[in-house]
Amino acid sequence: MKIKLFSYNFEDTFVHHLSGLTKIICFLFLTFAVMFSYDIRVIISILLFSLVVFRISKIKFKQVKLMVIYVAVFIITNAVISFLFAPEYGVKLYGTRHEIIAITKSISLTYEQLFFQVTKLFKYASVIPFGIIFLLTTNPSELASALSGVGVNYKAAYAVALTLRYFPDIQREYADISQAQQARGLDLSHKAKFKDRFKNALLIMVPLIFSTLSRVELISNAMDLRGFGKGKKRTWYNMKKLSRNDHLALGISALIFIASLGISFFINHSRYYNPFI
């Protein structure tokens, strides 16, 4: 129950000094670059680039070990399931068929399927480092100003700021309620009868939600008294001015994004790189 939300620590690195706005734009550029392309060469280059940034931002493996395990389990399950559901998907995509081995009469492994799945595996893996870097190097209180900087309505951005501010409080409250109920014999696991599990979940949700509802009144009154939402725009205490390094980072990410699109449109003529023709 001890999860620190975005275990953000300030370190003296290039990435930490960038403004939140820069980081969110770079994150969007780079993830879209990977999400769009199905060219394994592009994906692996971006993956290598992300690992370099990882090193620069001095994130230790210890900090992200748990995430890496979750992601590995997810990617492997996804690979197995999508093979079972559509073993001929690669053949359909690439238009040729080179069989490696027949597993049963109707299912066989082809080079096309293998190539497609390996590409997909790297594609999913390469998005993760950017997300982790973004989360671990961005000050949560700067995130709202960054969001409003990329054009999100400031009220929605403020809702995100409130979420980040109140998550630890609600987590603490949840731990209290859940321990109190468990001391009274509440069971949420497989051992409880199926019908009782919903009732038991409610015994935790009801106190949590109702105490939050009264808190909503309190906070919104306080904000109203300070004139929240009266203007069309607002300023942010944590907003940083863009420096030379910010422009550099933005330039590099935009370049990678354009390169990824360019390779898809002008060299491969589709989102997929086809080595079979």
Binding site: A86, G131, A156, Y158, H190, F198, S220, M223
Partner: protein, 185 residues
């Protein structure tokens, strides 16, 4: 109709705090189902409840922010197609706002049926239409796989939003004074 999209300070605060509870429930409070390796997400019961009280904008943002945040904490990066689908589902739940009698101190049979009809429409739209289509467009997943996943998700989430949402709304309406509960002597 204009009422549905009005954003007051109260809506914003409810969105922020609702999203924090959504994140927490999404990560920690799952009800194991009789089918192995699957579980009911209690978080959709919460988003249906908040959407009914505060409208579609609050509902949609709660699920979108909450799902994106919990994905980021667990996996490092959100799975966008499902995050968007979560937002769409809870946005649609929000059309139960002001259509039920929850604020009048009585969540009667008619309200229960209205709420559940809207809730099921939202889940079906989100998980059988939006999520699979985005999965194919963004991640190029095989179609039969994503539609199979979508149907399972729609059924499971309708059950958790239906059961938990209804019970929460009944509990909430019990805290409100009934309309016309005072009489002149």
């Amino acid at each position: 109709m204009k009422d549905y999209f009005k954003i007051s300070t109260r809506t914003i605060v409810a969105t922020g705090l609702g999203a924090a509870i959504f994140t927490l429930l999404f990560m920690y409070v799952k009800i194991p189902s009789p089918v192995p390796e699957t579980s009911f997400q209690t978080a959709y019961g919460l988003s249906a409840f908040f959407a009914t009280l505060f409208g579609p904008i609050a509902g949609g943002l709660i699920a979108f922010i909450g799902h994106a945040l919990s994905d980021s904490i667990q996996y490092g990066s959100p799975w966008w197609s499902w995050v968007i689908a979560s937002g769409v589902a809870s946005f649609i739940f929000g059309f139960a706002y002001k259509r039920t009698s929850v604020e009048e101190g009585e969540f009667n049979m008619k309200s229960i049926i209205t709420f559940n009809t809207i809730q099921i429409i939202g889940n079906v739209m989100a998980w059988i239409v939006v999520a699979p289509v985005l999965d194919i467009a963004i991640y190029s997943e095989p179609a039969n796989l994503v539609f199979a996943q979508g149907v399972i998700a729609a059924v499971m989430n309708s059950i958790s939003a239906g059961v938990l949402g209804t019970l929460l709304l009944i509990a909430y309406s019990a805290t409100k004074a009934k309309k016309g509960s005072l009489s002149k002597k």
